[in-house]
Amino acid sequence: MKSNPGGQLAPHQIIGRDALISSMWSILEGRSIYMNDLRRIGKTQIMVKMHASPAPGWMTVKCDLGGFHTAAEFATQTYRMSHEVLGTQKRSLRRMGELLGKAKGLEIVGLIKLPDGSAAPWKEVLRRTFADIEEEMTALGPDRRMVFFWDEVPFLLDNIAKREGPTVAMEVLDVLRSLGQDHDHIRLLLTGSIGLHHILGELKKQGYNNSPLNRMKLVQPGPLDTADAVSLAAALIEGDGIPCDDRAICAATIAEAVGDVSFYIHKLVSRLPKNAPASRASIESILHREITSDNNDWDLQHYRDRLLTYYGADEKLALLVLDALAIAGPMSFQAIRQEVNAQTSVDDEHLRRLLGLLSRDHYLARSDDNQYAFYLALIRRWWRLNRSL
């Protein structure tokens, strides 16, 4: 198995996530999921793995929606993929058949057309498709369900808002909400590279007031479990033929250095030289060079640059909090308050709110014992270097 930062992995080479995936199948029994986390944390890989090995009774449809620009394209594709998947079970979509009439099955490309040649209304296509799926799933058996793995939902909404206007994007959101909750045998698993709240924020400025995600379970996958991260690093070291003083130590060092994030493990292993044995020191040194180089594509500067955009007048306060946590490691609310108050005066509720926002935006994570820490060890490492702490 060779390192492949950013590339597409075969499902069997996506290491780890088994416990999370198992719990996600359990959640899907009851409701749909919105999966949100940092870019490159491995959300798509989770979908790929679930799609490749569905839990018993589940049928899956997986699609990256970033290539659709209109609600009709999205609806058409949903129908088509459902049709294909059900076709494998020799089932068909009755209501859609009625809608399409003689044109049924003849349409290969483009939008679904009605018998009179006009484009089928996208909401009707989605409504009938989902109703048909529900009916077919029920007919197949009490435990049969279908899940749609929809990646890049925020891109879809943004594309539609740009092409057809924000109103249509809002309608799509509402339809997604009702589809996600109105059918017992159909679930959605939505995700995207960027947080859906960014798109919702834009749409709210245009008058959108609904909460399309509030019935969905929010899942934040986070980094790999440490044991899986170390296994991945060891497998890549072997696959890339990296000489090591001690492979187990090197694998553990790599996993720890990048905070157990699969993408960064691939990336760091791909940077290790093959002409000299890797060691703890050399790995640390290569990572240091990588993330501080002028020409690096790790884009960790993003975490510093976006503070002003995200927190406006609170940027300075956010810096104080992050600097303190970068230096000291995990801290309780009281300890953070003490550290911050040594430099400025801040109201407790204000600070709590900011800590909440920093956690929502994946700067921080709050542990079970109520300690705040950097969400990713790699960001803390970079923060200390960048801020000379």
Binding site: G6, F68, G110, F155, N295
Partner: protein, 704 residues
């Protein structure tokens, strides 16, 4: 008939790939690794997306051509892959247009599999329909194969393609994992490195390093071998050849393409063979090349380059901002981008950052347009100044016909040399040495040092050669160089203080004792005129005095050495070695007991302070064979031991204890020496006997 392979300077894909294999330098590992990754993409469900980054001429197309070549040589990959190699000058403003480019290339390469009619059929459709139709057609015809998409200038493609189209492209690749991508770009671009962009983190990016001078020499040697140019191959092994490569390196900034362009010039000795073809090259190739490079930049970036073209040396950011009537903050970001794209390089001076062109040859693009009336192009004048030394320039000018059009170049080059400005050739040769450590340089580095010093006859350059020669044990050659240095006029005090003791050491190595003592004495005498570390000169002079049995002088130097704070006499290997010389010198100094005692007592203060009393004890035992070899009688042996014993009485209790065992071993050793009876040793415990037997060079004790 031309029997040498064609090496395209601007389109390596048109060169025979086997020739490209032969001239490849620096990137063998990268190439093998990249081919392995594409191979994995073709034969498994893992799909890699590689992106090579380097400025124009950095060898990106060379690399991609070899990846293509090696893949085609693998039959299993050939069966499973369908290669689409996009024309580097074509672009696409939508994913549909990119699909068209891909499909068109596949049609050309695999006409039976990808019918051209499918492509023709989509023209005239609505773009969304056309995209879907062509995408479906591509996937249908592709079947189980993987498309290896070779796409150059990916940065340009991203620049031209709106974000929503990039999302469509990415979604297509994600929904249909049938692509492996090998892309190139001139620099890292936001489309792949900005976290908000669809393709963030999608590519495995690799930066192509510029060639070092040694790699450039290897490249040129490879070209010479390929072209069966033994003369060029031999020439590259000479100091002059290396100097000329260094010159190109500094003008070209490590850009492989320029080495290939210049490889033809290296051995040209006739001026007509050099200047005229250079002018032609400048006119036909380099100017176009650099103008093309400038066209890639934004207007403000071009203005920065234009400004720096008029400055032959690095200038600070403030001066650049003022020169362009803009602010420091506006210019800083552009400078960073230009630096990342390797158009510029920077130097830090305290808190200030200074910028200059990464490739001085880039000035050519402006000079060709700005130089009128057939006046010499300044850059060619510079080239000549770097190519030839003064003597060469004068000689060649003298040989030129009065009406020769190239006289102007040589007159200008000589005028610039006489103008008092720093010698460009020497400056570049020196810069090429970088942070070379003369104590650890290989043959190639030594050759470069020689080359520079031979030309400049500069006291610093020659001193580096001397140090390097000494470090490599070439003492006789080092002495010659140092003789030359010390005969130079206007020698700086610092150089004298460096070279004189070094020559003293070299003489010592060659056992030219008197000359060594003379140089070292001159060095030590300089202490009164300038602050100087005279520790080492004292040490070596002491050794030299001991060598010719001038024991008093040796002892005086050693004693003075011990009085210098923090000198290695107090620690490290010298701390172990020097006591042996001291014991030897005291012993050789006299046979009179009182004299021995006085000398020993006089040293004790110093060795106690330097904490080397233990080493003195060790030296005393190790000295026993010399005692035995001396002409002294047995009574004198005892006198020697008594002298040490009585001197040790003057020591503090703790220090006296440190000498207790050595003195016991000395006495026992002497007892043995008197009648060679090993039984005398039995008064000692076994560990001490072992030490003493070793000192006396006796075989290990037999155990019965």
């Amino acid at each position: 008939m031309i029997d040498r392979p064609f090496l395209s300077q601007f389109s390596p894909q048109r060169t025979d790939p086997e020739a490209l294999e032969q001239i490849l330098v620096q990137r063998h590992d990268l190439l093998a690794e990249s081919v392995a990754r594409v191979r994995e993409s073709v034969l498994t469900a893992n799909k890699h997306h590689l992106l090579f980054i380097g400025p124009r001429g950095a060898g990106k197309t060379h690399l991609i051509t070899l990846i293509h070549h090696r893949l085609r040589k693998q039959p299993d990959v050939g069966k499973a892959a369908r290669i689409a190699w996009l024309n580097e000058d074509e672009t696409a403003t939508s994913f549909l247009k990119l699909l068209i480019l891909i499909y068109r290339d596949l049609t050309k390469r695999y006409p039976a599999e990808f019918p051209a009619s499918d492509l023709q059929s989509v023209y005239g459709m609505k773009p969304d329909i056309a995209r879907e139709t062509l995408g479906a057609s591509l996937l249908r015809h592709l079947g189980p194969h993987t498309i290896v998409l070779l796409v150059e200038n990916l940065d340009s493609l991203f620049k031209d393609m709106p974000e929503v189209e990039q999302r469509t492209w990415r979604a297509f690749v994600q929904n249909h994992p049938v692509f492996a991508t090998v892309g190139t770009a001139q620099s890292l671009f936001s489309g792949v490195s900005d976290r908000d962009e669809p393709f963030f983190g999608f590519f495995d990016t690799r930066h192509l390093d510029a060639l070092t001078v040694d790699e450039a020499v290897t490249l040129l040697k490879n070209i010479a071998r390929l072209n069966k140019r033994d003369d060029l191959l031999d020439f590259l092994g000479t100091p002059t050849g290396h100097a000329r490569v260094q010159a190109i390196h500094d003008l070209a900034g490590g850009n492989p393409r320029l080495y290939i362009i210049f490889s033809d010039f290296l051995t040209r000795e006739s001026l007509n063979d050099l200047v005229r073809p250079f002018e032609e090259t400048a006119d036909r190739q380099l100017t176009t090349y650099y103008q093309e490079r400038l066209r890639w930049l934004s207007a403000q970036q071009r203005e920065i380059i234009q400004l720096l073209c008029h400055h032959p040396h690095p200038i600070p950011v403030k001066a650049i901002a003022e020169g362009l009537f803009t602010t420091h903050s506006t210019i800083t970001n552009q400078l960073k981008l230009l630096r990342e794209m390797r158009y510029l390089r920077f130097h830090e001076r305290g808190r200030e950052v200074l910028y200059e062109l990464a490739e001085p040859l880039m000035r050519l693009s402006l000079q060709v347009k700005e130089t009128h009336d057939r006046r010499p192009l300044s850059l060619i004048v510079d080239f000549l100044r770097v190519w030839y030394d003064r003597r060469d320039l004068e000689q060649r000018l003298g040989n030129l016909d009065a009406a020769s059009p190239i006289r102007a170049y040589f007159e200008e080059a000589l005028a610039r040399l006489d103008s008092g400005e720093p010698n460009l050739r020497h400056r570049l040769l020196r810069a090429g040495l970088g942070e070379l450590d003369p104590l650890h340089c290989d043959d190639s580095a030594l050759t470069r040092l020689w080359c520079l010093a031979n030309e400049t006859k500069d006291q610093f350059d020659l001193s580096w050669v001397a140090i390097a020669l000494m470090a490599r044990g070439k003492t006789a050659e080092a002495i010659n160089v140092m003789d030359e240095i010390l005969n130079l006029p206007d020698l700086l005090g610092g150089i004298v203080a460096l070279v004189l003791p070094l020559r003293g050491l070299a003489y010592a190595r060659s056992m030219r004792v008197e000359e060594s003592i003379t140089d070292l004495t001159r060095t030590i005498d300089m202490e009164s005129q300038c602050p100087l570390n005279i520790g080492w000169p004292l040490l070596f002079r002491g050794y030299m005095y001991a060598e010719v049995s001038k024991w008093d002088f040796a002892l005086a130097d050693f004693k003075r050495l011990y009085s210098i704070p923090n000198h290695p006499a107090a620690f490290g290997p010298i701390a172990d070695e020097l006591p042996h010389r001291v014991v030897e010198a005291i012993f050789g100094h006299t046979t009179e007991t009182p004299q021995w005692s006085i000398k020993i007592t006089g040293f004790f203060d110093h060795v106690v302070r330097c904490k080397v009393l233990v080493q003195v004890g060790e030296a005393l035992i190790q000295h026993l064979p010399k005692l035995a070899a001396s002409p002294l009688n047995h009574a004198a042996y005892d006198t020697w031991a008594d002298a040490w014993a009585s001197a040790s009485e003057t020591l503090a209790f703790e220090d006296r204890q440190r000498l207790e065992i050595p003195l016991r071993l000395l006495r026992t050793g002497i007892a043995y020496l008197k009648n060679k009876d090993e039984g005398r040793l039995l008064v000692l415990p076994s560990e001490e006997r072992k030490i003493l037997r070793e000192a006396l060079k006796l075989p290990p004790e037999r155990i019965s």
